[in-house]
């Protein structure tokens, strides 16, 4: 065990591989890992014949998938995805075992995989998960080593060859028989294919799986025929109506509205809200309420922003259509309005996860962000943020782009109620560190605004505006006075998962909870 710079104990090896402990947000370079761009064998296909081999089972056989290999899927259909479950069922039926899953994310709907983990069909997860799989792993009830990665970190791990994907099975909502596809149209349209674009470039074999085979050519091209090996057809890839996971309505909760108002004040005071402004929010009710304030300020002051970024919602689509931004960078569509927009508007740009947030290239889009609104499950007095585990210690959530966006944005703003079901959200220590405090600018709860030391000018400006600025320790004390001080959850020494920072260093671990 070695301690990383945040004081978390990191094992030297995990599941047979060695790792570097986290040091700081920006100094680690690819050379530290001897990373280069992953190389792939060149292929020659002189035939113009259809690549459709049949259904999933035929595609698995044709791909040459064997025991011990790594597969991936993308999560653009989110909790409406059917492909990963169907795929693993077929892999099991073919008697293939010891498969590593390196999908872009795993959702609650994929709890169906649990029996296949127990059976040894799946033996490792090279990606974070949402829901019961992580919960059971952190209870010690399910054995499956897991490495949680951010969107940018995952892109990095695939591009560098650190996680070599043997076969990528990519849901292709609009696809032709020679393998061109996009996500814009068809019964399972999910819009942007941002996560899949990376896999398509770097997997050893690429299988396009479609429920909507269209006449050649499928245009516009998202993933092109020259990198697609196989096409498979299925009845349905899933249900796009289930892409929307959280509320997409502005919150009506007075506490949420107050937090949103404070966040708008912070954005205004940051000095970045002028022509060329760039902005990212999530999908939660508070985030949308902040976006509403930002929209109103931009309208009033006739501000033309540069870009909106991230998972894109209908709210951002409206702002683009109104002319408030030059464009949108979209790594995944968060609702069907965004799906519809990306298919018609050239200024709504599909963005690969690598372009979005991979730290090891000549500049990710997050680097150009002015202000970003992020959520939190817990925050500590050093501004470290946890979004992976709940205060009970259970691993229930994937990182998403949290640490990527905080790393890139000039002002990253965490919005969070001060108390959730008696649990204090600002605490002495977070259960798990997802995002290091050094990259967090401001923490906002309904009890006040805490500004990190690296933004003294913003703090002074907020005080000048008589905003309720509080020291983060005072904020914690105020909250503890209401909730009482929580007893720390007890963990065993058994490390069942790693939380990777976007640069590939290990920022924290997941241990099993003591019963």
């Amino acid at each position: 065990m070695a301690k990383n710079s945040l004081g978390r104990e990191i094992p030297e090896t995990f599941n047979g591989k060695s790792y570097i402990p986290y040091t700081d947000p920006h100094s680690i370079k690819p050379e530290a890992f001897h990373f280069q761009r992953a190389s792939r064998v060149l292929k020659r296909n002189y035939s113009g014949a259809s690549k459709v081999v049949g259904g999933l089972r035929e595609a698995i056989v044709a791909s040459g998938l064997k025991d011990g290999m790594t597969i991936s899927t993308h999560h653009h259909l989110r909790n409406g995805d059917r492909l990963l479950n169907d795929l693993v069922r077929e892999i099991d039926a073919l008697g293939i075992r010891d498969i590593r899953i390196a999908s872009s994310s795993v959702h609650i709907v994929h709890a169906e995989l649990i029996p296949y983990i127990r059976k040894g069909v799946i033996t490792a997860l090279e990606c974070g998960v949402n829901g019961p799989i992580g919960e059971q792993i952190s209870r010690g009830e399910l054995a499956c080593p897991i490495i949680v990665r951010s969107h940018g970190g995952r892109a990095r791990s695939v591009i560098s060859g650190e996680v070599p994907i043997d076969v990528a099975f990519l849901a292709a909502p609009c696809c032709d028989e020679y393998g061109n596809f996009n996500g814009f149209y068809g019964p399972s349209a999910c819009g942007s294919l941002g996560y899949a674009l990376v896999d398509a470039q770097y997997a050893r074999k690429v299988v396009a799986v479609t429920d909507n085979l269209v006449p050649f050519p499928a245009l516009p091209i998202g993933v092109a025929q020259n990198i697609v090996d196989i096409v498979a057809t299925v009845d349905s890839l899933g249900d796009p109506k289930k892409i929307v996971s959280s509320t997409t309505k502005l919150t009506k909760d007075p506490m949420g509205l107050l937090i949103a108002k404070y966040a708008a004040t912070v954005i205004d005071a940051s000095g970045y809200l002028k022509n060329g402004f760039s902005f990212q929010t999530g999908t939660g009710g508070i985030s949308l309420a902040v976006a509403g304030h930002v929209r109103d300020m931009m309208r009033e002051r006739r501000i033309k922003g540069s870009f909106g970024c991230g998972g894109i919602t209908g709210f951002f689509v409206d702002m683009l259509d109104e002319g408030l931004f030059e464009g949108l960078f979209d790594v995944q569509c968060f609702d069907l309005k965004a799906v519809e927009s990306i298919g018609r508007n050239r200024k709504h740009q599909e963005m690969s996860a690598g372009l979005y947030a991979n730290p090891f290239n000549m500049g990710a889009v997050v680097n150009r962000l002015d202000c970003a609104i992020l959520s939190a499950t817990e925050i500590d007095v050093n501004f470290n943020v946890n979004v992976n585990t709940e205060s009970s210690g259970l691993l229930l959530h994937n990182t998403g782009g949290h640490c990527d966006v905080a790393n890139g944005a000039k002002v990253s703003i965490i919005v969070c109620p001060s108390i959730r079901g008696r649990l204090p959200m600002v605490r002495d220590e977070v259960t798990t560190i997802t995002t290091p405090g050094e990259t967090v600018g401001v923490v906002i709860t309904e009890r006040g605004i805490a500004v990190n030391d690296h933004l003294p000018e913003l703090k002074a400006e907020l005080i000048r505006r008589r905003a309720p600025v509080k020291d983060i320790r005072a904020l914690r004390d105020e909250i503890y006075a209401v909730t009482g001080a929580p007893k720390p959850v007890e963990f065993t020494d058994k490390v069942v998962g790693l939380i990777e920072y976007l640069d590939g260093t290990i920022i924290d671990t997941v241990r099993t909870v003591r019963a």
Partner: protein, 89 residues
Amino acid sequence: MEIVKKGVAGTMQSSDLMVFVEPADSLKVEIESTVIKQFGHLIQAKVDEVLVKNNVTRGFIRLTDRGALDYAIEARIETALQRASAARA
């Protein structure tokens, strides 16, 4: 306070709790909570305090807590006790 019949107070919403009380020969308290690991000791202390304050020496008191704060715990227990007491019968 004497518990002479069943009494219930509260809801199952987040940050609230439900309290069930019923007559019994001895005093028995059962606490189930979403935050039992972090706050079980404080919930227990609050329950004991409210029972002493109300001179409850017999009865079965059951809490199903969804992360309520102390003042809500106190109010819900007192209401359930009043609903179960002789004074209201």
